[in-house]
């Protein structure tokens, strides 16, 4: 599950609200913020949350019956979440609750 941040840093650059087909999409965690506030993906897309900060983070995913918790996500570690069911999901860091975003699955 965990890969080094450096290995995925070259993945797709996020914009403020982006749509992606199924596959792998990267969201960076840098400066106590996600690189996008809203992301739209196709069902089956795996979103890789990449901790590029020097402090630990956490990923909580809630919505559509999903309640996922990454536990402690150390600096440099990526946490990958498959988004399978259409709908909107809230994503936040349990340690730094100002870090929040939505993932919409078509």
């Amino acid at each position: 599950m965990k890969t080094k941040f450096a290995a995925v840093a070259a993945a797709a650059t996020m914009i403020s609200c982006a749509a992606y087909a199924a596959g792998m999409v990267s969201v960076d965690q840098k400066g106590l913020a996600f690189s996008t506030g809203a992301l739209t993906v196709a069902s089956g897309t795996i979103v890789s949350f990449n901790n590029g900060d020097s402090t630990s983070h956490n990923i909580l995913v809630n919505g559509n019956g999903v309640n996922m918790n990454s536990g402690l996500q150390a600096p440099g570690v990526s946490f990958k979440v498959p988004f399978l069911k259409p709908g909107t999901y809230q994503v936040m860091c349990g340690i730094h609750p100002k870090m929040k975003m939505t993932v919409t699955v078509n």
């Binding site: 106590l32 536990g71 349990g94 730094h96 609750p97």
Partner: protein, 363 residues
């Protein structure tokens, strides 16, 4: 410790034009102090940060001057005026004797100077009164973050039985009885003026105006070489490197607005009571701002540490280890001189703010 920040930069050619200029500023402001650490033993030597690294450190603490004004409760002068009156008005409390300012005393850094707060009928409460300084940026609020907005926070203590022991009945009676409140709120909220929610909006609007002013540290960031002593400058580097303070006390308010278990004894579960199921949030409390910290003792969520020196000792080696302990809290092996430098640095975060005048309350 951020290794990238602490290593010696041997590649000046990769500096951008901005970074070069910023490094020049850092060199002026920091002088040679960063490179003249004379530590008593080799193990305690701080790797000398490059000028570029110091410039980046300094830049990350530059002030944000734009005070948030949320769309749902845009700040206006009239809201602030009424909000200040309500903030200082004990008639909102159950006993009629406690106001918001009783605990959030502007003379005491918008705190009360006590280890833990004193509530209704003199009851000693379990947590230290947090400051309301710079809360415009500080959401979520409370030590455990249970209020997402300042509006949600504002009436929490008023209604809490252990704190101000107010009630909707008492609050509404006050604002409907006092003409200045009754008429003022009718002007501001013509559709449904006299509600607890509107009281919260007014108090929140006032609280957003409580902002710490420019401190010596800010003047140093802006280039005033005389603003910080050599000890404080060394403390700043330690704060960002060996002591690892900046991993949580980041940004111009010196807080990440996050929640961490820093290893204080006690059975208060903190953030885990609000967000159960996460081990890392057990005994975790919100990172407090360090602005005006010298005037805001005692320290920590339980008020258990009396001085900044005790705070540094705690982070150096005084914490207890348990599964929820933040991975940022590790033995620091600070020397006495380094501890003194850190305290000297924190002393530079105090602003010489204009004294707040308590209002004459309307009858």
């Amino acid at each position: 410790m951020d290794k990238q920040e602490s290593r010696v930069d041997r590649r000046p050619s990769v500096l951008t034009k901005f970074a070069t200029a910023a490094a020049g500023m850092a060199a002026m402001a920091y002088g040679a102090v960063a490179f003249a650490h004379a530590m008593p033993n080799a193990a305690a030597i701080i790797p000398g940060p490059s000028l570029g690294a110091i410039a980046r450190m300094m830049e990350s603490f530059r002030r944000d001057h734009a005070v948030p004004s949320p769309g749902a409760n845009a700040t206006t002068a009239e809201k602030v005026r009424l909000g200040k009156l309500l903030f200082f008005d004990p008639r909102l409390s159950g006993s009629g004797a406690i106001s918001c300012a009783s605990c959030h005393n502007p003379s005491l850094g918008w705190q009360d100077g006590l280890p833990t707060a004193v509530g209704d009928h003199g009851k000693i409460l379990g947590r230290h009164t947090p400051t309301i300084l710079n809360t415009a940026w500080a959401e979520p609020l409370f030590w455990d973050g249970r209020a997402d907005t300042l509006e949600a926070q504002a009436t929490g203590p008023i209604m809490a039985a252990a704190e101000m022991a107010g009630s909707e009945t008492k609050v509404l009676a006050t604002i409907k009885t006092v003409a200045a409140y009754r008429d003022g709120m009718a002007r501001l909220f013509p559709n449904d003026p006299h509600t607890v929610e509107n009281v919260a909006k007014l108090i929140a609007a006032y609280e957003r105006t409580i902002v710490s002013g420019e401190a010596p540290f800010d003047r140093w960031i802006k280039g005033d070489q005389t603003a910080l002593s050599a000890s404080a400058r060394r403390g700043f580097v330690l704060f960002n490197t060996k002591a690892n303070c900046a991993s949580c006390h980041s940004g111009w308010r010196f807080t990440d607005d996050g929640f961490h278990d820093i290893g204080l004894a006690g059975d208060d579960m903190g953030r885990a009571k609000v967000m159960p199921g996460l081990t890392i949030l057990e005994h975790a409390f919100k990172t407090p701002t360090l602005r005006n910290i010298a005037e805001r003792g005692p320290y920590m969520h339980d008020g258990s540490l009396r001085t900044l020196g005790e705070v540094v000792d705690h982070y150096d080696s005084g914490f207890i280890t348990r599964p929820s302990l933040s991975d940022q809290v590790k033995p620091l092996h600070l020397t006495p001189d380094e501890k003194a430098d850190l305290v000297a640095f924190m002393m530079t975060l105090s602003s010489n703010d204009t004294p707040v005048t308590a209002p004459v309350l309307p009858r």
